[in-house]
Symmetry: C3
Subunit: 202 residues, 3 copies
């Protein structure tokens, strides 16, 4: 469980960094950059907890998530030009966060007796809703609704999680395998530039 | 009650179709189209349930809503060019969904002891908030905030519902009359191109 | 406590006016202007109550907030050209609302056993989230994320509130001082045109 918590914090940091960078690109001020970093990092899990009825949400019970994402956003704000060498690793940390958040979200939904679709959706929401709010606040069509394999990787991970959970594997094994499914699909998708189809219009 | 459930599903399907079409128009990918369809279909009722404290929300307890809206969004994605003949009927199904959702939302709020304004607003929110989120995710000023008689039809229906409810009519009679008020106003508004006033600016 | 309620209503009216004005500027219709006014006025407190688990939210228990903000939005819609002389006072009422909402939000979070960061954030959210939703619905990058000392004034007020609360001052004294901190910073910021830094980009 301690490993999952460590991965969770690493993912939180990666998501906060992506939110802060989006804020900087949109020429937001210091506070805007911090807010965008925090919302991107904890938004998905908070929305999940509101819908599952796990109130107050996870980040209210453990303020570490807030201190961490605020700290990361501040670091990005002040040092982002010296941190360019982190651009590539950040994509991998982000994929790692994606897998971790999916596993946490799906697992929590199942602990709340969710059915198949809801369990998968809560996992996907945990992993992607923060980024979606980030894009809405940046006045853009959300990234995950457009042409890239991102939430799709989470869907496959969520389905795998649900099957292994029903099969009765130990929770930790289930979590590791499902997270790896997400991470591997996401990283291969980046390298191969996979994308989903767009509907034909005349 | 079975009739109401059937109308509810019909409305859900119509709203999912409108969300999916918006996604296609914004050139979203397959997953984006599905997400937009689902959010449009269940977003209003989910928000209502969060505010009333009816957690988990209705669509978590009965996954039919999710399967239906995902199915409709997929059908729209793959066959939307063959489904052009449905364009006109869709406007009527949408009006029907509007009336049904208004009745369900206002009725549920009253069951939770809401006052007059809150009861009407929860009905209007159930019927229109999904479309509002659809437009925000499409990076547009929400349709219902602009020049058309759409949410307005719901407001009249909600007021009628509240009065009949207080008068003490049977629930089913109240529901049918209020839904008809919404549907008739909406359809007449489409045909007559009714619109609300805009404030004068210098 | 009656003074706090009076200030709360004054702030609600000021926020409703700012929302209604934004709707008029975006050429929304009558209903759109009212919705934007209401959402701006009660949105922050409602989101706070959802996250703290205080359901139904404050404005569902006391519909005065709804009647007031709808009334103000209607007045702004019909008479906004005759109300130009209120433009300047409105900025001060808005600052007053900012301080009042911060105090109410932080106080309520502490009553729900929130830690330091959450208490401050709930105060800031109460005061600013309504305006943020207003801007998202107007299809704009939210004002508070950009170059102005607005939410920043709330952060200072929230920190002061937390310290005085821990020191053990009477609630009313704590509230008055913290609200004044917000109001004074905000008003000075308007006059001096203070702003927060923006990150350097190459």
């Amino acid at each position: 469980m301690n490993v999952l918590y460590a991965l969770d914090l690493l993912g939180t940091a990666a998501f906060a960094a992506s939110g802060a960078l989006a804020g900087i690109q949109r020429r937001m001020d210091l506070l805007g950059v911090v807010i965008l970093g925090v919302v991107t990092a904890v938004g998905g899990g908070t929305l999940r907890d509101v819908l599952l009825g796990s109130i107050p949400p996870f980040c209210f019970k453990d303020e570490t998530y807030f201190y961490l994402s605020i700290g990361v956003a501040l670091a990005v704000f002040f040092f982002h030009r010296s941190l360019n060498f982190l651009h590539r690793p950040l994509l991998y940390f982000d994929a790692l966060g994606l897998g971790t958040f999916l596993v946490i979200g799906t697992g929590k939904a199942l602990a709340y007796d969710a059915g198949f679709l809801v369990a998968v959706m809560m996992g996907v929401m945990t992993a992607t809703a923060g980024g979606l709010v980030r894009d809405v606040l940046s006045d853009q069509v959300p990234f995950i609704l457009q042409k890239e394999v991102y939430a799709t990787a989470c869907i496959f991970g969520g389905i795998v999680y649900y099957i292994l959970y029903r099969v009765g594997l130990p929770d930790s094994t289930t979590a590791v395998i499902a997270a790896l499914v997400v991470i591997v699909i996401r990283i291969v998708a980046i390298h191969r530039k996979w994308s989903l189809p767009i509907a034909k219009v005349d």
